[in-house]
């Protein structure tokens, strides 16, 4: 006889779980009681986060780095509800997370019991799946099912909600599931047809100005190598979504950058000028393609590879070739076909045009110092120069995220974690913790804004006690800068509710947690602080004072076309 709680922990171990991010409370305490031995034996590591939102983000960060589900746990009621923001963030970005939540006993469910929340009612809308268990004997099967659902098809978070009485129940006749068993679930199947591959190749080879748009599907399927190879063979430039940025090494000369609302102007222009586009693992959200007229105009041929057929069918545009399947498998099929045909893709004019676009827009981006302090693009360039190529970077959400979208050079795949779909402020630090747990051998950096950092900065304590040295760089403009920017540009300059009247001393704040704080005033100071923090191998917080009026550019007007890109602050007259 074992308890339901023991079944939970043993089932997690059997799924290969090595780490759990969480906070204990009344309703998941039995799980912790069973974890005691596993933690003591160093079979499973527990990371005590300082808020459940952070636990979900950390599990998400872990998943994005390893490609395997990250696990978090919370107690019933407020604990589980605090997971919501983190889980929907993972859901929107297709990250596999498994949340094990304690629930009040079945005898009091529905009676507004102490720390009760309707977990099914809430989570069913913000996760890929949620199940509330009815019998302790179900625990092994549903833990297995949760991992299967989370990691197959289009990955996403799964919640297993377990009433406390089931965790305490004694179980005999334990049945360990060898295979998942879920009625009414199947991962999307690869449906890559030879005729579609032929047609796609025909379009791409014969196009004069082909372009590849890479999305996060490239990263999740580990297909960066295939993507670059195809681009090389076709002499086909690449643009990406914000999340797809993590899939393309930026020193590849045919990469132009992120396309879309806050994308690089040359990437947007290349998309508009292209006559054929291969969309790889991207769902073409409103952030990437603000108006579909841009895609549809000019008779552009469109080929889409996506594992989820509904992502293609739901698009309000005509798609010439629809390839439903795993990105890596589909790209290999394209590569195999192109290697077996003779083609001559010189594309001198198109490649020259790409170079011209890059050079033209660079003039607007790389403005040297003015009286307004350190320039974000140069801050990022300075940090990039000091960090190793395989350093992992996370971000919060706000202006700094847009600067990173445009001016941070990803040098190795899967080294940039950001909340793309949900745009969740506070993602950066806890996601960095998850990344550092997954890859303790890598330098992990949270490039954050002050508004974003302040939302989850309590987790600095975790980095100290768990010996997870993380470098936090804060663009400190004492404001919610991106909202401020939109108010200035598109709400008649009526700036309201965004400027912080009081902000912490970040050096003292860092020190109060046992970390090291730096306040830098120059690029040289910054370089020194970054080097020192890497060498010291202790969490460091570097404050970079940032001019409050600095804009995140390029941008588009709300609802605007990619043609309407705004390149500079007209009020500065430059």
């Amino acid at each position: 006889m074992v308890t339901g709680a023991k079944l939970v922990v043993e089932a997690l171990k059997r799924e290969g779980v090595k780490v759990i991010f969480g906070i204990p409370g009344l309703s998941n305490m039995a799980i912790y009681d069973e974890l005691y031995d596993y933690i003591s034996n160093e079979e499973i590591r527990h990371i005590l986060m300082r808020h459940e939102q952070g636990a979900a983000h950390a599990a998400d960060g872990y998943a994005r780095i390893t490609g395997r589900p990250g696990v978090c746990t919370a107690t019933s009621g407020p604990g589980t509800m605090n997971l919501v923001t983190g889980l929907i963030t993972a859901y929107w970005d297709n990250s596999p997370v498994v949340a094990i939540t304690g629930q009040v006993p079945r005898a009091v469910i529905g009676r507004k019991a102490f720390q009760e929340a309707d977990v099914l009612g809430v989570m069913q809308h913000i996760a890929k799946y949620v199940v509330q268990l009815k019998d302790a004997k179900e625990i092994p099967l549903w833990i297995k099912n949760a991992f299967y659902i989370a990691s197959t098809g289009k990955p996403g978070p799964v919640v297993v909600d377990i009433p406390r009485d089931l965790l305490m129940a004694e179980v005999d006749d334990i049945v360990w599931a060898d295979e998942p068993l879920i009625d009414g679930y199947k991962p999307f199947k690869d449906n890559i047809r030879d005729e579609d591959i032929d047609k796609a190749i025909d379009i791409l080879v014969n196009a004069e100005r082909p372009l590849i748009l890479a999305g996060s599907g490239v990263m999740w399927s580990g297909a960066s190598e295939e993507l670059i190879k195809l681009s090389e063979l076709l002499l086909c430039p690449i643009v990406s979504t914000l999340l797809g940025k993590a899939a393309v090494p930026h020193d590849y000369p045919l990469y132009l950058g992120v396309v879309g609302y806050y994308g690089r102007a040359e990437a947007n222009m290349a998309l508009l000028e292209s006559d054929a586009i291969l969309v790889v693992g991207a769902r073409l959200s409103d952030r990437t393609i603000p108006t579909f007229k841009d895609l549809q105009e000019g008779g552009r041929r469109i080929i889409i590879i996506n594992i989820d057929p509904t992502d293609i069918k739901k698009l309000p545009i005509d798609v010439d070739v629809k390839i439903c399947g795993d990105v890596k498998v589909a790209l290999r099929a394209l590569l195999n076909r192109i290697l077996n045909i003779s083609h001559n893709s010189s594309r001198y004019n198109w490649i020259s045009r790409i170079k011209e676009l890059k050079e033209f827009y660079a003039k607007y981006y790389y403005v040297e110092d003015d009286e307004f302090g350190l320039k974000p693009w140069k801050v990022l360039k300075t940090i990039r120069e000091v960090l190793p190529p395989d350093a992992i970077v996370t971000t919060g959400v706000g202006q700094h995220q847009m600067w990173i979208a445009n001016f941070w050079d990803v040098l190795q795949p899967r080294t940039l974690l950001t909340s793309g779909g949900m745009g969740t402020m506070g993602f950066g630090l806890p996601a960095a913790i998850g990344a550092k747990v997954a890859r303790p051998d890598k330098v992990v950096v949270d490039l954050d804004g002050d508004g974003s950092f302040l939302m989850t900065m309590n987790n600095l304590a975790v980095t100290i006690e768990e010996n997870l040295p993380i470098l936090v760089v804060i663009f400190d403009n004492r404001s919610l800068g991106l909202v401020r920017q939109v108010q200035r540009m598109f709400f008649r300059g009526r700036v309201v509710g965004v400027d912080f009247g009081s902000s912490p001393d970040y050096v003292k704040l860092a020190e109060s947690f046992g970390a090291i704080g730096y306040d830098v005033g120059s690029y040289e100071d910054l370089k020194t602080a970054v080097r020192r923090s890497i060498n010291d191998a202790i969490t460091s917080v570097i404050r970079v004072p940032t001019y409050r009026g600095e804009l995140a550019l390029p941008t588009l007007p709300p609802g605007g076309s990619l043609k309407e890109v705004i390149l500079y602050d007209v009020r500065k007259g430059s």
Partner: protein, 123 residues
């Protein structure tokens, strides 16, 4: 007048959240539901739900989303549907005599169907 679309959802019942998820798929895409009828088909948890929803430009998106919800086996769009109001057939005459409220059952007479399962057309 807005025309109505009728769908049949074949799914697997674990708890009543199944019905919430089916309904919410339309709600999330701003589609109104005119009527709904569902029942447990067998002891193995097979469930079928019929819904009459207002036609909407998001209708196909809702069907596609519904087709890839965990526990949903397939979604059928029932085309050329005649809805038979059983009040007109005299079947519930006895019941109607004893009840003041109206009891309406729609029986879809199906002309053709288009079926989706996990985003793929399935017949």
């Amino acid at each position: 007048m807005t025309s109505e679309r009728v769908v049949r959802v074949v799914c697997h019942y674990r708890d009543a959240s199944l019905l919430e998820r089916v309904i919410a798929t339309f709600r999330k895409l701003l589609i109104d539901i005119n009527w709904i009828y569902g029942r447990l088909v067998n002891d193995a948890g097979l469930y079928e739900v019929y819904l009459g929803v207002k036609d909407h430009h998001n209708f196909l998106a809702a069907v596609l989303d519904l087709s890839k919800i965990v526990n949903v086996i397939r979604v059928e769009i029932l085309n050329n549907v005649d809805l038979i109001d059983l009040r007109d057939k005299g079947i519930f005459n006895d019941l109607m005599h004893t009840r003041s409220e109206t009891f309406i059952v729609y029986i879809p007479q199906i002309g053709s169907t288009k079926c989706y399962s996990w985003g793929e057309e399935c017949g």
